[in-house]
């Protein structure tokens, strides 16, 4: 089995669930040989303090990167102790606030999770933007949370499969004459909503006119590719595995999964064009005991240098553009936040999805089983 390492860039709940208790076969590692990380020499006095902050994240490689990029230097610079719990979970966050038994202050979720909970109750503290660095993109700010890193759901393909032809859009992904071979796309599981946006762009909908998504049109578009989709993947580890095994020639994938594959020398590449830019977010639990410290850590983690450190430790993007100048160009090119990659990506509309996910999911499930 040692020939088939599985890279747990452990960023989705699904993977966390599956790897729980079966950690042994996993090779967890951070990307590449690491150049020296930039150091945040000093922090504004307003971020200093005492006591502690309790943080819930998803564990795995992401937590490791957060620890090195943010938590360790934060402790040293501010005097605030950081305690982490690798068990972030919307259900637990909800239950803690409801019972008043708060074991965490700051929690790593998605904007959708936070907005969805705020729709049914008052679960998160509002963000004090006076502490936040100006460089943090406006699009990553919202009332009850801050998005601190990005990742992309993109197309990836084997570079040895098409005699030099390079797929550049979802239209190409759908074009089985120019790009023959089996594909994989995301199906049913706990890895987010179906890839409706991709089906629509393949059908010619321009990237800036996607939302509100036209489901019927998307399913009609999916009909055209269905026969070539050899696998509807469930967990993030599958697409790179299938590319590496030559089971498929093209797939949709989370960008973080690809760098490990490329490092192994598998001839595969990412097509950033028309990919979806997704984000992780910090939320502060309502009534958190260390609310002020949580706010300080949140602010620290979105400063340029801490942002650069994180993006150099794991191939996820930064949300503060000021970080780009601290990241070596070669590394930056791998990130969804690199200006030339980011401008090709579509900003996933979380607000639309939380309103419509249930109905879209039901229609997609039915289509997939039909």
């Amino acid at each position: 089995m040692a020939q088939y390492p599985v890279h747990t860039i452990n960023r989705r709940r699904a993977i966390r669930l599956i790897t729980a208790g079966v950690g042994a076969p996993f090779v967890i590692r951070l990307a590449g040989a690491q150049p020296a990380l930039p150091e945040q020499a000093n922090v504004p006095d307003i971020l200093k303090g005492s006591g502690e902050v309790r943080i819930a994240n998803y564990g795995g490689a992401t937590a490791e990167a957060q620890l090195k990029a943010w938590f360790e230097p934060f402790e040293k610079a501010t005097g605030i102790k950081v305690r982490t719990f690798p068990t972030a979970d919307t259900a637990k966050a909800k239950a803690m606030v409801e019972t008043g038994n708060l074991e965490w202050d700051l929690v790593n979720l998605g904007r959708g999770d936070i907005l969805k909970l705020m729709k049914v109750g008052d679960y998160f503290e509002s963000i004090d933007y006076s502490l936040i660095d100006d460089g943090l993109g406006k699009e990553y700010r919202f009332g009850f949370g801050v998005e601190m890193n990005t990742f992309a759901q993109v197309m990836a393909y084997r570079t040895d499969a098409f005699k030099g032809a390079v797929p550049a859009s979802w239209g190409d992904f759908w074009d089985t004459n120019r790009f023959p071979g089996d594909r994989a796309m995301y199906g049913i599981g706990a890895g987010g909503p179906p890839e409706i946006e991709f089906a629509l762009m393949a059908a010619g909908v321009p990237a800036d006119k996607l939302y509100p998504l036209d489901i019927e049109k998307a399913l009609a578009s999916y009909d055209k590719i269905r026969k070539s989709v050899a696998k509807w993947w469930t967990t993030g580890a599958q697409p790179p595995q299938m590319l590496s095994d030559r089971e498929i020639v093209m797939t949709t994938v989370w960008n973080g999964r690809m760098s490990a594959l490329q490092e192994q020398g598998v001839p595969a590449a990412i097509c950033w064009n028309q990919g979806l830019l997704k984000r992780d977010a910090w939320g502060i639990l309502k009534g958190a005991k260390n609310k002020a410290n949580a706010m300080k850590l949140l602010a620290y983690s979105t400063m340029p240098i801490p942002q650069a450190r994180f993006a150099m430790l794991i191939p996820y993007g930064n949300t503060n553009e000021g970080a780009n100048e601290y990241i070596p160009p070669q590394r930056l090119a791998m990130l969804p936040s690199a200006p030339e990659n980011k401008k090709q990506l579509v900003f996933s509309n979380v607000e639309w999805w939380i309103e419509n996910r249930d109905i879209v999911q039901a229609k997609f499930n039915k289509w997939l089983l039909g």
Partner: protein
């Protein structure tokens, strides 16, 4: 010769009756006392979450049977329900066919029995995820089986073995086989050896002895194994996701999806269906004579 350790009759505290009196309320409490740590543990880590989940299916967001009513009209649920049931049945029967000869060999073996048991149990200690990956390696388009067949010139195009329903069933049978072999072997071992000898003495052929004596007497073990395998197969998630086709969607995948969408009420309802299915099977199993006994005496 062993010296009986016994208090002399004259010593204080001597009790004439050394047989435990199970009619005495105090002695009857002993097994319960011994089992209480486990019972408390199960109540906290198992029963409470199950009850919480069942409650959620009834009271999220408010008290009603709406989630259960929704099941009947949910075409996706109905389809996935039948897929899950069908896969579990196919895997159960596949396991019986493959496990019986192995169990027979295991029950007959003397010096090689530990070795056979090792071979059966060794994959048992490897995680399901790893074993599912192993099947991907074997069945893939450029996997071991296809490469071997191509090299031998038996085929000239790789066969589609991976990402098929057959792959799901092969991998699940492999994972669940020990649960079938052990109860059957145990039932076979408990058959009084004088019975087949008597059949032989009365002129039965070896095949006749097997068909009329050994096979019927092993049925409780077969039924117990089927019960275990079927109930375990109902909850599979990783294996169908890894090696199965797009139509190998199991109830657990639907549940995972509902949980992710924060539809805990409906997720709880789907889980309740899975639980009811498992309990129903165990109930049916109890009706087969000897099954509960076979389950109770199954050693692994």
């Amino acid at each position: 010769m062993s010296v009986p350790i016994m208090t002399p009759p004259s010593a204080p505290g001597y009790k004439r009756n050394v047989v435990i009196d199970w009619n005495n309320a105090r002695t009857r409490a002993i097994p319960w006392l011994l089992a209480s740590p486990l019972l408390v543990y199960m109540a906290v880590v198992y029963a409470m979450p199950v009850v919480a989940m069942l409650l959620r299916s009834l009271n999220d967001p408010s008290w009603s049977l709406d989630h259960y009513a929704a099941l009947a009209g949910d075409a996706v649920f109905l389809k996935v329900f039948w897929i899950t049931l069908g896969t579990s049945l196919a895997v159960t029967f596949g396991c019986v066919v493959l496990a019986y000869p192995v169990a027979l060999a295991l029950s007959r073996a003397r010096s090689t029995a530990p070795l056979i048991l090792m071979v059966i149990l060794l994959p048992f200690w490897t995680s399901v995820l790893v074993r599912s990956y192993a099947w991907m390696v074997l069945l893939g388009r450029h996997g071991v089986i296809n490469e071997a067949l191509l090299a031998l010139g038996l085929i000239d195009q790789p066969l589609k073995l991976l990402n098929t329903t057959m792959a799901t069933q092969i991998a699940m049978i492999h994972i669940l086989l020990p649960y079938m072999i052990l109860p059957i072997a145990n039932a076979l071992r408990q058959i009084d050896p004088s019975l087949p000898r008597a059949a032989w003495g009365l002129g039965a052929t070896p095949w006749g002895t097997f068909r009329q004596v050994i096979f019927p007497l092993s049925m409780p073990g077969v039924a117990a194994g089927m019960l275990l395998v079927f109930v375990l197969a109902l909850g599979f998630y990783i294996t169908p996701a890894m090696v199965g086709s797009s139509s190998d969607i199991t109830l657990s995948m639907l549940i995972a999806q509902e949980v992710e969408q924060l539809n805990w009420g409906y997720a709880g309802t789907l889980s309740a269906v899975l639980l009811a299915l498992a309990l129903a099977m165990i109930g049916i199993g109890q009706l087969v004579p000897g099954v509960s006994n076979a389950l109770r005496t199954t050693k692994s």
